[in-house]
Symmetry: D3
Subunit: 252 residues, 6 copies
C-alpha cells in the first residue's frame, strides 16, 4: 500500500517531521511518500494561508503520478480536504478529523491543543462541519505560531503540556489531540506527564487511510464529492498580487 | 461610498449580471465596481472550483487599488470570505450569509433555492459555520449548473419557481433566497407567482455593506480576522497541474 | 424615508436618548420619529414589564398615523416584535436581533453586555428563537437596572467596560453589543479602550430598516406574521388603537 | 388545595370547557377555580392576541384574592407564563409545557396537533425556550381556528385524528398532545382510534401543579423569576390590579 | 394507589433511605413498596455496575406480584428505565429525569450535584437522550462515592452545599437537583442555606408516577416501548423471572 | 494481533456469520476469536434484551483468558460498550459507532438501514451520545427482526436495498451502514445496485481496533472509563467472572 502524505505548508523541515511521523505509525508494508506544495506559505496559521494551501495541496497531489492508495492531508483543520476528495477516488483523510475520530474511540471527551488562539476558530469550524464537535471538551492554544513550534520544540513542549493539563483538569478531557502537524513526536512525553492518551494526527490519519484501503472503501462519488463537471479554467498561473500583499504585511 | 463586488468565477456575462444586480440595489451615491478573478473556472459548482475561486477573489481584490469602502463576495456560499476579511479592514459580505440575515428579518423561516444538489452541502456548511442555520427551512436544488442558469434563463426560472413552491408549501418557508449570483433579477417574478418575499443575495450584500459603512464599523481585528503574520510565500505562480487535471476531466 | 423608533418604556429621558441615537445613525434623508408607549413601566427589566411593553408598543404604533416605512423596537430583547409584525406590513426590527446580525457580519463571536443578571435569560431566549445564538460568546450583566444606567452614566460606563473586557479576554468575543437601549453613545469610548467594534442596537436597527426599505422588502405575510383574523376584542377601554386595527383587518 | 385555572381568551364557553377539563383531572380535595381575562380576544391564534392575553392573564390573577396554591395557564404555548411566575410565588404551569413533560415520561417522541399552521411557530418556540423540543416529533395543524374548534367539535375531531394519524405513522410519534385548550375531552376517542396515549394539557397542568404543591416546591426566586423591582407604572387605567401588585412589591 | 420503588443497588440501608424518602413525598392513600435487586453491587458508580443493576432491577420488578400502579427507578441516571418500560404497562419513572422535569417547572436553569466526577458523563448522557439537557446549567460532583455519601452524611452535606453554591453563583442555576438517591433528606438544609429550591429525585418520581396514574396514562406501546417479541432466552439460571415474562409474552 | 469479537446474542449461526465477516476484513496476521454470551436472547431487538446482552458480553469477555489486543462488540447500537471499557484496558469498539466513523471519512452524510422500526430509537440514541449523529441522514428500518434477517437472507436483501435506495434518493445519504451484525456480507450486492459505498460494522470495527493497536492507544482511564472501585457484588451465582474481576481490581 502506498500513502501520499501532504504537508500543507512549504517548510521542508516540517515536511520531514511529517514524513517521520507518518512512517512511525505506518504498518509494515505501507509505503509513505511525503510531499509539500510547490507554492504557498512556510506555515499556515490563518484562513488566507489556508486557502492558498488548499489549492497548493490539490495542485501537488494532482501533479503526483499514480498509483497510490490514499492521501493524508497533514494540516490540522486546514481547508481543502473536500476539494481533493472531489478530484480523486482514493480516500483523503485530514489530520484534525482523524484525531477526533480516534479520540472518540478511546475516551468520552477530547481536547485539542493547537498553536495560536486565532486558529481555534478554524479548528472549531472544521470539527463542526465534520460532525465531530459534540465530544470536544475544548480547543486550547499555546500561543506559538506553527513556525515557532517548528523552531523551539522545548518551549513548544512546555506550553503544550500546560494547556493539556488545563484541558484535563478544568475541561475534563480524557484524550488530548495535538493540534498541529509540527507537534508530532511529543505524544509519549505528554502521556507520561499527564496520564492521558495523546494523539498525533498524522499517525491517526495514516492508520485510518490504511483502514479504508483494507475495507476496500473509496470516497463516495454520488453527490458532494462527485468529480467536478468539466469547466474552462483560465488564467492560471497569472498574478503575483497575493505575494505583494504578503510583502506589504511584512513591511507593516 | 465605493463598493467592490467580486464575482467568484471568470464568466464575463455573469460578472455583468452581478454588476447590474448590485447597481439596482445600491443606494444613490454608492459607486459599484464589479470585478472578476484573473484566473479560475467560469462557473463554481464544487469545492475544487470554490477553493481556486477563494484564492482568485483574494488575488483580484488585493490587486485592486484603494480606496474602497467594502467588498461583496458574489459567490453563493463559496469559500474565501474569512480569508479576505483577514487581508483587508473594510467589511466583506458574502451573498449567502447576506441573504440569510435579510431573510430572518422579514420571516420566520427561509429556504434557499440553488443550482445542483451537490452544492447543497456547501451552502448548509456555510450557513452552519456562520451561525445562520437555525431558521433555514430547506436548501433545494433546481438541478442546473451555474452555467446552465446563465445560458437558459427560462428553464432556470421555471425550475426555480417549482422548488420555491415546494419550499413554501412543504417546508413552510416564508422567504425565498436565490442561491446563485446568476439568479439575480428573478425576484419580482417569483414573488408575484408565490406571494413570498424573494431575496437576491447581491442586493442584500450591497445594502449590508452600506449599513456597515454607515455604522462606521469594520471587521474586528482582535482575533480570527487579524492581519496574517508575515510569512514567506514562495513558488507562486508555479504549476499548471490543476489545469491539466481539468482538461483530463473534460476528456473523461 | 420615515422610520418610527419606539421606546419600550415610559421614560421620557430614555426616549430622548433613543431619538438621539437613531438620528446619529440614520442616513441623510431618513426621518426619525421617536415614540413611547402611552402606558407601562418607566424601565423594562423583567418579563412582567416586558409583556406590558409589548402591548404598549403595539398600541402606540397602531395609534400613529401612516405613512411610515418601518419600525425600530428599541427594547433590547423585549417581547412584542412578532406581534407588531403581524399588525403592519412595514419591516419591524428589534434592537437585540439587529445587534447580533451586524455583529456576525464583522466578527466571528460576539458578546452582549446588558444590565441585570436576571435579564440575561430573556436575551438568551430572544437570540435562540431568532436563530442568532450560535455565534454568541456570552451575555454578561453589569448589575445595574435600566433606570440606574439612565441616571448614573459614569458608573454604567465603568461596569460595562469591565464586563466587555471579560467578554473579550475570557470568552473570546470579537465584537461587543450594548445590551440596553440606554447604553447608546458609549460605543466610541469602549472601542477605544478595548480595541473591539462596539454595536449600539438602535443604530444597527435603524440601518437595517433602511436596508430592508431600500431592498423593497416587507414582512412576509404568508404564515407566521399574517394579519390576525378578525376577532372580538372586548374589555379593552384604555385605547382603541388595537381594536381599530382589528376592524380594519376585518374590512381588508 | 386550590388551583386557579386561567383561560387566555375571553370566550365564556371556552372557559367552561377548561373548567370541566380541569375538574375531571383534579385529585379529590383539589378545588378548581376557572377564570378568564377581563379583556382580550375571544380566541388566541396569533402573537398579537397572545401578548394581550399575557397581560390579561396577569391582570386577572393579580386581581384574584389569595389564598390559592398554584396557577394553570390554559393557553397552549401562549405568552405570559414567565411574567406571572415573577409576580407570584406559587407554581405557574403552562399547558403546552405540561403536555410535553408528561408525554416524555410515557413515550420517546411526541407530536402536538394544534389549530392553525401559523400557530405552529409559537408552539415550536415555546418548546424550544422551555428546553422540551428534543423529543418533539412534529407540530401539526388541523387548519381550524380556536373558535372553529369551539363551535364545530365534529369537524375538529375528524381533522385532529387525521393529523394525529400522520404524526404516528409518518413522524413516529408515540404520544399525541392536544395543542389547544379547546380540544380537551377528545382524549379517549383519539386513543381508541389510534392506540396511542393522548394528553390534554389542562389535565396535565393541573396534575403537575398538584405535584409541585405536594413536593412543597415554589418557583425559584433567585434570578429569572425574582419579584420585579418597584417601578412607576403609568397610564394603565383599565385595571389597577397590576399596579397594586407593584405597590405591594414596593412594600415587601 | 401502590407504587413500587426500586433501589438500583443491594445496600439495605440505602433501600431504607429510599423507602423513607418515597413515603415522605407520597400522597395520603399511596402505598410505597421499596425493593432492591436480588443481585448486584452495593453501590452503583459506573457503567459496569449500572448495567448489572439494569438487569437486577428488571429481574426484581418482574418477580414482584401484581397489582401495582407504577414504578420508580431510584438510581440517579442509571441504565434500565427503557428496558423496564418495555416489560410492563405501568409508568416507570427514573429519578434523574424526574428531577429535571420538576426543576424545569420552577426555574429556568437547574444544576445536578452528584457523587463522583466519573458519574457526570452518565448523567449528562441520560439527560441528553431524555431530551432534558437544554436547561441544565451544570452537573457537579462532590467527589464522594455513593457508599461514602451513605456512611458520612456530614461530609456529604458540606461538600454538596459547596458544589450547589458554585452551581448557583457561577453557573446561574436556579434549582438544585440532588444527584444520588442517597442524598434524600438534605433538601431543607440546602434550601435554607442557599435560598434555592432543592429537589430530591425519589420524591419527584413518586409524585410524577402519581400524576401519570391520576391522568390514567400508561407507557405508550406503539413503538419503542412495545412488549418484546418472544425470544428464546437461554442460560439464565439465577432467576427465572425474566424467562417467565418471556413465556407470558409468547402466550399473549 | 488478536481481536476478540463478541456477538451480543446467543445465536450460534449469527456468531458464525460474525466470525466470517470479521475474518474477511481482518488484516493478515490478525487472529480473530468469535465469542457469544453464555446467557441471553438469541436475537437482540429491544432494550430489555440489550441490557441482558450488555451483562452477557461483559461476563463472556471477562471469562476469556488474556492475552488479546482489543474487543469488537458486534451488536449494532446495543448497550454495554462503556461498561466493558471500564473493565479492560484494551480498546473496545462497537459496530454502530465504527460504521459511523468510517462512513464520515468517505461521504458527507450516511444512513443506517436496520431491522425493526422500534430499534431506530436505540441507534439514534447510541449515535447521539457517541457524538456521531450530526452527519446521519436517516436511520431506516426494513421491518424484519434480527432472527428473520438471519433466516430469510433473500427477503432481507430485497428490503434492505429498498430502504437504502430511499436513503440515497430521499435523504441524500452518500454512504449506507448496515445496521445489524447479521447483515454482514451484503455489502457488494448493495454497492453494485446503488452505486454507494456500503459499510459492514463488523469489518469497520475490526479494522478500527487494529488501527488503535497500531497507534499503541488504549482506552483512557482518567475519568469515565476508569476501572470500577472495589464493590461487594452479591447474589450473582451464574457466573463468577464478574466477581473475579472485582476481586482482581481490589487486589490491584
Amino acid at each position: 500500500m502506498k500513502i501520499v502524505v501532504v504537508n500543507v505548508n512549504t517548510s521542508e523541515s516540517m515536511t520531514r517531521s511529517i514524513d517521520i511521523a507518518a512512517k512511525r505509525y505506518a504498518s509494515p508494508g505501507t509505503e509513505i511518500v511525503a510531499l509539500q506544495p510547490a507554492f504557498g506559505a512556510d506555515g499556515v496559521d490563518c484562513n488566507f494561508e489556508s486557502y492558498i494551501s488548499a489549492v497548493g495541496v490539490m495542485d501537488r497531489v494532482m501533479g503526483y503520478d499514480l498509483p497510490y492508495d490514499g492521501v493524508v492531508m497533514a494540516g490540522f483543520g486546514e481547508h481543502g480536504r473536500d476539494g481533493l476528495q472531489e478530484l480523486i477516488d482514493q480516500p483523503v483523510v485530514e489530520i484534525c478529523e482523524a484525531s477526533a475520530h480516534i479520540a472518540m474511540l478511546i475516551g468520552r471527551k477530547y481536547s485539542v491543543v493547537t498553536t495560536l488562539q486565532r486558529s481555534v476558530s478554524a479548528i472549531e469550524d472544521r470539527l463542526k462541519i465534520s460532525g465531530l464537535w459534540d465530544r470536544c471538551a475544548s480547543v486550547r492554544a499555546n500561543g506559538m505560531t506553527t513556525q515557532e513550534v517548528d523552531h523551539d520544540p522545548e518551549r513548544a513542549m512546555r506550553t503544550i503540556v500546560e494547556q493539556a493539563r488545563k484541558a484535563v483538569e478544568e475541561d475534563f478531557a480524557e484524550v488530548i489531540c495535538l493540534g498541529c502537524a509540527g507537534m508530532a513526536g511529543l505524544e509519549e512525553q505528554i502521556t507520561s506527564t499527564l496520564g492521558v492518551p495523546v494523539i498525533d494526527g498524522v499517525g491517526a490519519a495514516v492508520q485510518l487511510v490504511e483502514t479504508l484501503v483494507n475495507l476496500k472503501l473509496k470516497t463516495s462519488k454520488t453527490l458532494t464529492y462527485a468529480k467536478p463537471d468539466p469547466k474552462s479554467i483560465t488564467g492560471w498561473p497569472f498574478s503575483t498580487n497575493l505575494k505583494q500583499q504578503n510583502l506589504q504585511s511584512i513591511a507593516a
